[in-house]
Symmetry: C2
Subunit: 231 residues, 2 copies
């Protein structure tokens, strides 16, 4: 567990299954967590509330919610300019990058995390990207993460002055969704607090039919666990 | 000059001397300009008004102002958490990166430009960074720009699907401030509309004593021109 002398890390926390598991792993690794939630013009502000609750439960040192209206640019079902696809088969989901892709989203998120890390004199950033059971987003792949890590060393006063080397931690990147759920369950993650749905109902209940719901269902099924969100 | 069939470019426009000159150059090169101004918690919103006026004068196709509160993270004189230094000599200015550095600022700005470019199906981004007469900011150097360009190819659906290669245009990067002013003057830039000061007076008049004012003064002096902002 972390102590006041533990190294600081900035962690991108959406309040979803992946970022919450990443938080549990980063805590287990002994980091003091500075959680960053980006409110980016997604349609569901209950997600931000979930992220806040999860941050509190896991004893983060600090939690910032930063707003940025990416819907201004359009081009994504997750910022409201396109329809979220429903009921796609595994085969359909494996064909190309879907409209739920948000243009350059992880680049925007990581650049904000980098800005905060630098002011904290931290060189550790956690992001719960996953390149196995995922929607094929380009900015979730290992080669993308390495390119951002490389950029970070050149981008900041802290690294140029030789105070440290940035590291982008992606503990989930090569894990299946079921392995993520098993790991989180071992670490005590309460998945009833997490959300995954791209297209929730008015009351916040998941639609059970978008790509994110389908990937989550498959993960719980393969892990041999019930999803507490659906009980 | 640009026409409706000209290629689209996203241009980061602060309304300062450098970004305005970059706009004039991008127009001369025949691009349709989509100007992006980031309101990032700087203390002077007259800067945003200047950027809007300059965008209109130069006939940009579209202009978005996006707000993001980088002052949340602190760590910079330009977001209000530290004092802007005054009256530094050229020698003092050459020693280290000053407190006016905003952590990871150009990485945040370029990631937003990248997001917009992708939705426009544009692969051209202009930024008025300069690595000669500048304040030593790490994210103004050619090696940083190349790293961001490399990241862009991996970060987006558009590039991963082979629709194009992003190019970060930095026409000013190796120019002296006086050469920038001479070039802009040739192209018809009205420098009375641009601002540079880090610490302007209540009425928006420049302080004439911060690093940005001193660099600007030196530039006009060496160009053999009067700064219309001071007349």
């Amino acid at each position: 567990m972390s102590t006041p002398s533990s190294p600081k890390a900035v962690l991108l926390l959406s309040g979803g299954l992946d970022s919450t598991t990443t938080l549990a792993i980063a805590k287990e690794e002994g980091f003091q967590i500075h959680a960053l939630t980006v409110e980016y013009g997604q349609r569901h502000d209950f997600e931000v509330k979930a992220a806040r609750l999860i941050g509190t439960r896991w004893g983060v040192t600090e939690h910032h919610v930063i707003s940025i209206d990416l819907s201004l640019f359009g081009g994504s079902a997750l910022t409201g300019s396109l329809e979220v696809p429903q009921g796609r088969s595994e085969q359909q989901r494996s064909q190309g990058i879907p409209v739920t892709y948000v243009p350059a989203r992880n680049t925007v998120f990581l650049s904000l995390a980098l800005a905060w890390a630098e002011t904290l004199a931290s060189f550790d950033i956690f992001i719960g990207v996953n390149a196995l059971d995922y929607s094929g987003y380009p900015d979730c792949r290992p080669e993308y993460i390495r390119a951002f890590e490389n950029l970070s060393q050149l981008a900041t006063k802290a690294s140029v002055e030789g105070k440290g080397q940035f590291r982008i931690h992606t503990p989930l990147i090569n894990m299946s969704k079921s392995a993520i759920i098993q790991k989180g369950t071992e670490l005590g993650v309460d998945y009833s607090l997490t959300h995954s749905c791209y297209s929730p109902q008015q009351n916040g209940r998941p639609c059970r039919n978008c790509d994110a719901c389908l990937l989550r269902q498959k993960g719980f099924l393969e892990a041999g666990l019930d999803d507490p969100l659906l009980s």
